[in-house]
C-alpha cells in the first residue's frame, strides 16, 4: 500500500476528464483507430485539444445521444475504438436502449465515458444529476462498469481500456478530486479491487470520488484506535466478489460510500455478496431516494453523510452492534 496516499497530498488541479482526454490524445496520435465521439460535448468533456490536434478522430454527433451511441456501435463493429464522451446524465439514460441492444447485446467495443457524473452538476438539478447510472448499467449483461478514484487511476484505466475488447461504461466527475494514489507506479487490473489501506476492525468500500472520503475517514478512525480497511472498487462490474467476502469475514462489518442513489449501486452490489456469502452488519451511504439538494460536491456530500464525520459515526454504531 505504499502506492496509496492515506494522507492528503498537495491539492490537485487536474480533473479526471482532462486526464482521460490527454491520455486519449497521447495514444490517438499513434493509433488512428482511437476515436472520440461527442454530443456537442467537446468542451464539457475537455476534448477541445483532442479535436484540434486529431480532427479526423473526433466525430461530432450533435445533441442526439441515441444516435451518438448507435454510430459508435457501428464504428466499433468496423474495428474502431470509439470513446463516447457525453454527460453521464444523458448518456446513461437517453441512450440506454442503444447501450443495451447495439452495444452490450451486440458486443460492440464501445467505451462509454459519462462525464460530469453523479452530482457534479450540483446546482443544475435532477435532470443533470446521474445517480441512477450505476444501477442501470450494471444490470445490463455484457457491459462492464468503472469509476476511477483519481487522476492517476483515470490514466491507468483509460490505457487499460484501449486494449480491452469489451464494451464499458465509465463515469467521472466534473471537478478535480484529491489524489488517492501517490503516482501511477502500481498495478491496475480491471475487475480487481485495490486495498488502499489495510485494517481488521471494519471495511470501507468506495468507488470514484468517494474513495478519498473513505481514506480521510480511515485516517480519522486510526486516530481513534480503529483500523479500517479501505477497498477501492474502481470496477463495479465485473465485481470483485472475493475481496468483498474476504473483507466481511476478516473485518466483521462493512460501510459502502458512493456518489449514487443508495438503491442499486455499489452498496447494493456489495450487499448482494455480503448477504449471500458472509452476512455481517452493513451500512450503505449515498444519495437518498429524492431529487438531490443543490450545491457544490463537497456540500452535497456533507449533506448526505458522505463525509468523514458521518462515516466515523456509522463506524462506531456498527462496531457496537
Amino acid at each position: 500500500m505504499t502506492h496509496t496516499a492515506l494522507e492528503r497530498t498537495k491539492p490537485n488541479k487536474i480533473a479526471n476528464r482532462q486526464v482521460i482526454s490527454d491520455t486519449l490524445l497521447e495514444h490517438g496520435k499513434t493509433n488512428a483507430d482511437i476515436l472520440v465521439l461527442t454530443s456537442d460535448s467537446r468542451g464539457s468533456a475537455s476534448m477541445v485539444k483532442f479535436a484540434e490536434e486529431l480532427p479526423d478522430q473526433l466525430v461530432e454527433i450533435g445533441i442526439a445521444e441515441q444516435n451518438l451511441v448507435g454510430v459508435a456501435a457501428g464504428l466499433a463493429h468496423s474495428g474502431k475504438i470509439p470513446f463516447v464522451a457525453s454527460p453521464a446524465c444523458f448518456l446513461s439514460m437517453r441512450s440506454i436502449e442503444q447501450i443495451k441492444v447495439s452495444v452490450a447485446y451486440s458486443q460492440t467495443n464501445v467505451k462509454l465515458i459519462g462525464i460530469s457524473g453523479g452530482i457534479s452538476y450540483g446546482a443544475l438539478g435532477m435532470s443533470h444529476h446521474s445517480v441512477q447510472d450505476l444501477a442501470v448499467t450494471r444490470a445490463i449483461p455484457g457491459l462492464d462498469v468503472m469509476l476511477p478514484a483519481d487522476r492517476h487511476e483515470a490514466k491507468k484505466m483509460v490505457e487499460a481500456l484501449i486494449d480491452y475488447p469489451r464494451p464499458i461504461y465509465l463515469r467521472v466527475g466534473r471537478n478535480p478530486v484529491e489524489d488517492c494514489y501517490l503516482s501511477e507506479d502500481y498495478e491496475f487490473e480491471i475487475g480487481k479491487a485495490v486495498t488502499m489501506h489495510e485494517g481488521t476492525d471494519l471495511t470501507l468500500i468506495a468507488t470514484g470520488e468517494t474513495v478519498r472520503v473513505a481514506l480521510d475517514s480511515a485516517q480519522q478512525l486510526k486516530q481513534e484506535g480503529i483500523q479500517a480497511r479501505v477497498l477501492n472498487f474502481h470496477t463495479i462490474k465485473p465485481l470483485d466478489t472475493e475481496a468483498i467476502a474476504k473483507a466481511a469475514k476478516e473485518t466483521g462489518c462493512v460501510i459502502t460510500l458512493e456518489e449514487h442513489s443508495i438503491h442499486g449501486g455499489l452498496g447494493a452490489a456489495v450487499a448482494e455478496v455480503v448477504v449471500q456469502q458472509h452476512p455481517v452488519p452493513m451500512k450503505i451511504l449515498g444519495i437518498p431516494d429524492e431529487p438531490a439538494v443543490a450545491g457544490k460536491s463537497a456540500e452535497v456530500f456533507e449533506h448526505y453523510g458522505l463525509s468523514v464525520k458521518q462515516v466515523v459515526k456509522v463506524a462506531h454504531e456498527l462496531l457496537t452492534k
Binding site: V71, H77, Q98, S106
Partner: protein
C-alpha cells in the same frame, strides 16, 4: 433463366420457407416478412458483395435489418444463401435456438442484434463512416419498416448521414403502409415521407418493392461521389404473395390456420411449376 426470373423464383422459395417456419413455430411476423422478401432476395442473391465461406471478410458489404422483427425472413435468406443449414430453420423460435425472432449476431452473416426499432440506421451510419475513414469500398445497407419511421432516433441518424455525406450508405424503407394497429397514416402520419427524406439531405428513389428489375436497378446503383446517402422507398404490399393476407393489418403477426396454410402453400408452390 434470366436473372429476374431466377430472383423471382428464389423469392417464392423463401416465402415458402418462411410460411413453413411460421406454421411450425406458431409464431412470427408474416405480414412484414412477406412485404420485405423481394427486397431481401434482391440484396442477398444479387446486390450484396458477401461470401458465405468468409462471412466476416473486411471488404464485404454490410446489411443491418433494422426492422428486426422479420428475422424469419432473414434466416430463410441466409439459409438459402448458404450461411446456415436449411435444417436449422426448423428450430425457429424453439427452446434454446440461435434462430430467435430477431437478428442474432451469433449466426454467421448477421452483423448486429436488432429488435428495438430505430437503432439500425445509426449503426449503419457508423459502419459507413468507418468505411470513409479507412478508404474502403464496401457499401452499407439497412432495411427499416415504415411504422419505424415514427422513432425519433431514425431522424437523428438521417441528419448525421447527410452531415457526413455518406454516399456509401443505402437505407431502404419497406413502405407497406400498415403497422400493427392499422394504417401508418392513421397511427401517425408519415406523409409526405419521400420529401421528408429529401429535405434531410438524402437522394430519394421510389420503386415498386416487388419488381425485381426496379429493385436491382435502385440497389445496385453506386452513388459514391455524389455526397448524399440514398433512401430507397420500396412501395410494398403487406403479406405479398398470400392473397388472404395481402394489405390486411390483422396479418401483421398472424399465424395462418391449417386451412390458410395449405391454401397459401398451394398458391406459392404453383408459381414454381
Amino acid at each position: 433463366m434470366n436473372e429476374n426470373t431466377r430472383l423471382e423464383r428464389k423469392a417464392t422459395e423463401i416465402r415458402i420457407a418462411v410460411l413453413k417456419m411460421i406454421h411450425e413455430a406458431k409464431a412470427g411476423h408474416i405480414g412484414g416478412s412477406f412485404s420485405s422478401i423481394d427486397i431481401l432476395t434482391a440484396l442477398y442473391h444479387n446486390v450484396l458483395n458477401i461470401d458465405p465461406q468468409n462471412p466476416t471478410d473486411d471488404a464485404r458489404d454490410r446489411f443491418i435489418l433494422s426492422k428486426g422483427h422479420i428475422a424469419e425472413a432473414l434466416w430463410a435468406v441466409l439459409a438459402d444463401r448458404g450461411f446456415i443449414k436449411k435444417e436449422e430453420l426448423k428450430t425457429f423460435c424453439g427452446f434454446g435456438t440461435r434462430l430467435i425472432a430477431h437478428p442474432n449476431n451469433k449466426v454467421a452473416g448477421v452483423e448486429m442484434n436488432t429488435g428495438s426499432l430505430g437503432q439500425g440506421l445509426s449503426v449503419a451510419v457508423g459502419m459507413a463512416l468507418a468505411a470513409k475513414m479507412d478508404g474502403k469500398a464496401y457499401r452499407t445497407f439497412t432495411l427499416m419498416g415504415d411504422g419505424e419511421q415514427a422513432e425519433g432516433s431514425v431522424w437523428e441518424a438521417a441528419m448525421s448521414a447527410a452531415h457526413y455525406k455518406l454516399d456509401n450508405l443505402v437505407a431502404i424503407i419497406d413502405r407497406n403502409r400498415l403497422q400493427i394497429s392499422g394504417t401508418t397514416e392513421d397511427v401517425m402520419t408519415l406523409e409526405p415521407l419521400p420529401s421528408k427524406w429529401t429535405s434531410f439531405g438524402w437522394h430519394v428513389v421510389e420503386v415498386d418493392g416487388h419488381n425485381m428489375n426496379q429493385l436491382i436497378e435502385a440497389l445496385s446503383t453506386n452513388r459514391r461521389g455524389s455526397g448524399k446517402p440514398t433512401l430507397i422507398m420500396a412501395n410494398t404490399i403487406k403479406t405479398k404473395g398470400i392473397p388472404a393476407g395481402e394489405n390486411n393489418p390483422a396479418w401483421h403477426h398472424h399465424v395462418p390456420s391449417d386451412a390458410q396454410y395449405k391454401a397459401a402453400l398451394n398458391e406459392l408452390e404453383a408459381k414454381l411449376t
